[in-house]
Amino acid sequence: MRPRAASYDYYLILATVMVLFAISALCVYAMFAFKLAQVQSLAPAAKLAHMERLNHIAAPLIIALITLLGICIPKRLLPTNWLNRFAVLLLASAGTVAAIYGVKAALLVILAASLILQLAVLVLAVTASGLLRFERSGYWLRLGSTLMHLGLILFVLDLFFFRQRLLHLALFWTTTVATTSGMVFCFYAHPLARMLQRGKGSGEEAAPPGVGS
């Protein structure tokens, strides 16, 4: 196997992995904190205070994850040099909104921008457009990867609106359908393509299957 040169994708994945690792570490800490403080037997106000404290610790990590998501999404549409500019523009816009309207509004801006861009990517992936930039080829793999990332954005949006029950559940089920179908398309791109193209000769999937991040 020939070693591949490091790409923009690779560094974004590394950054995502680091944030996920930090969230994992926080989760482990939260478990022991819960046990040691006997949170289950505390008064509701003390329970709420415990949750608020952990939410405050988790907030920067979630912000980092959402920002990474915002930078990740346009990589399917823009060349690398434009991506850097886009990332700077996105961070500057988010910073401005955060200064005027608060961090929550800034995150919502990033998520809304990500959602619009990802929907554009989805349309292009469905129409098998050549404008998209994926490391791997294959219609189902690209569509699956797009749906998975769309599911991720919708899931974070869902957490934003969790107090609005109807919107919350509608977003949740859309997330579940997008994520699950995305995983099926992405992970089983080869068999899916073979199944659909049986009788038409060899399948279009040329590259080995992967997560298609």
Binding site: C27, Q38, V39, T175
Partner: protein, 343 residues
């Protein structure tokens, strides 16, 4: 309750025979696995497939026996209240449902509530989990012929059956917690006492035992646990030798496991809202599940770059870490208090 005692006796007796046979098959599998894992040359290579098939068939038979027993519980243990209590009860339930996002269904005397017990509660969950592993081990056994790899598959199955037999046998004392809950109901003499017990049993029946999420959330997670165990074996193998066929097999199970894990976790979310309300964040089990998902997701992402220097080994180590995280997540239910606790 007496009507169920004959079925209970049959279930226990049949289960005892079945578990004895399963233990014998597991002992043979374990010995075969150990011998082949330690030896350079294959020992009795034709024996592994029949051993694995026998153990899997016995696990399937045990699972069908559990399904039959649950069906009998559904048929024979209705929560039937005396007719004079029904109007009063329904007034109480209507009052309780007011303002609640998810209410309790009103009592219908023509069709009293019955338990639809899922097939993976109490010790039965281990049975289902290990059955999932056995089925996946059969697939892995068919795809890879290396005697040491097959030895590892059979040895791990033997360990799981030993745990089942000695520590989590679902046939010795079937559903102890469930029966401890419902026994007072069937022993209750006066209607007032029955009413009190009904109000205690009915919410748990609705939001736990009979919740339709119970038929998706836990089994999907146990399927993922079975797949992660296979990922663990392939990852250990990858540390020892660079074999692309084993890596491909591990990746196939990782994809399946990740799909099941994600879907299982997602389907637990609306159920948690229904049963506990929105204040379930930072529950220890959910924290550990998120950690498992993050580690497993990292494993899948690094696998994309497995051809980079050192990434092969890093990816393998993450595969092993995913298994450790899975064990930690499962055991968290015993050690950490919270909504998922098994204590």
């Amino acid at each position: 309750m007496e009507t169920l005692s004959h079925h209970l006796a049959f279930f226990t007796a049949a289960g005892r025979i079945l578990m004895g046979l399963l233990l014998a098959a597991a002992c043979a599998s374990g010995l075969w696995g150990l011998a082949n894992l330690c030896c350079r040359a294959p020992r009795l290579p034709k024996l592994s497939a029949p051993l694995l098939r026998t153990a899997t068939t016995l696990l399937v038979a045990g699972f069908l026996l559990i399904a039959w027993f649950h069906f009998e519980i559904h048929q024979l243990l209705p929560l039937a209240l005396p007719g004079e209590l029904v109007p009063w009860l329904n007034r109480q339930l209507t009052a309780m449902n007011q303002g609640a996002a998810y209410g309790l269904p009103l009592y219908d005397p023509a069709a009293p509530p019955r338990y639809v017990l899922p097939l993976w509660i109490e010790n039965e969950k281990y049975f289902f989990w290990f059955l999932c592993y056995a089925g996946m081990a059969l697939v892995a056994h068919r795809r890879l012929t290396h005697h040491r790899f097959r030895g590892a598959l059979l040895l791990l199955l033997a360990v799981q059956v030993a745990i089942l037999f000695f520590a989590a046998n679902p046939f010795v004392e079937p559903l102890p917690r469930f029966f401890a809950e419902v026994r007072p109901w069937f022993a209750a003499a006066d209607p007032g006492q029955q009413f009190g017990l009904f109000m205690r049993l009915y919410p748990k029946m609705t939001f736990y035992y009979n919740a339709h999420y119970m038929w998706f959330h836990p089994p999907l997670l146990f399927l993922s646990y079975g797949a992660i165990t296979l990922v663990f074996i392939t990852s250990c193998w990858m540390l020892a030798r660079r074999d692309p066929a084993v890596e491909a097999l591990g990746y196939d199970f990782a994809k399946f496991g990740f799909l099941m894990l994600t879907l299982g976790m997602l389907l637990g979310y609306p159920w948690a809202l229904q049963a506990w309300g929105p204040n379930w964040w930072w529950d220890p089990k959910i924290c550990s599940s998120i950690m498992l998902w993050a580690v497993f997701s990292t494993y899948l992402h690094t696998r994309l770059y497995a051809n980079k220097p050192h990434m092969w080994y890093f990816s393998s180590l993450l595969g092993i870490l995913s298994f450790v995280a899975m064990l930690f997540t499962f055991l968290a239910s015993f050690y950490f208090p919270g909504e998922h606790t098994f204590q």
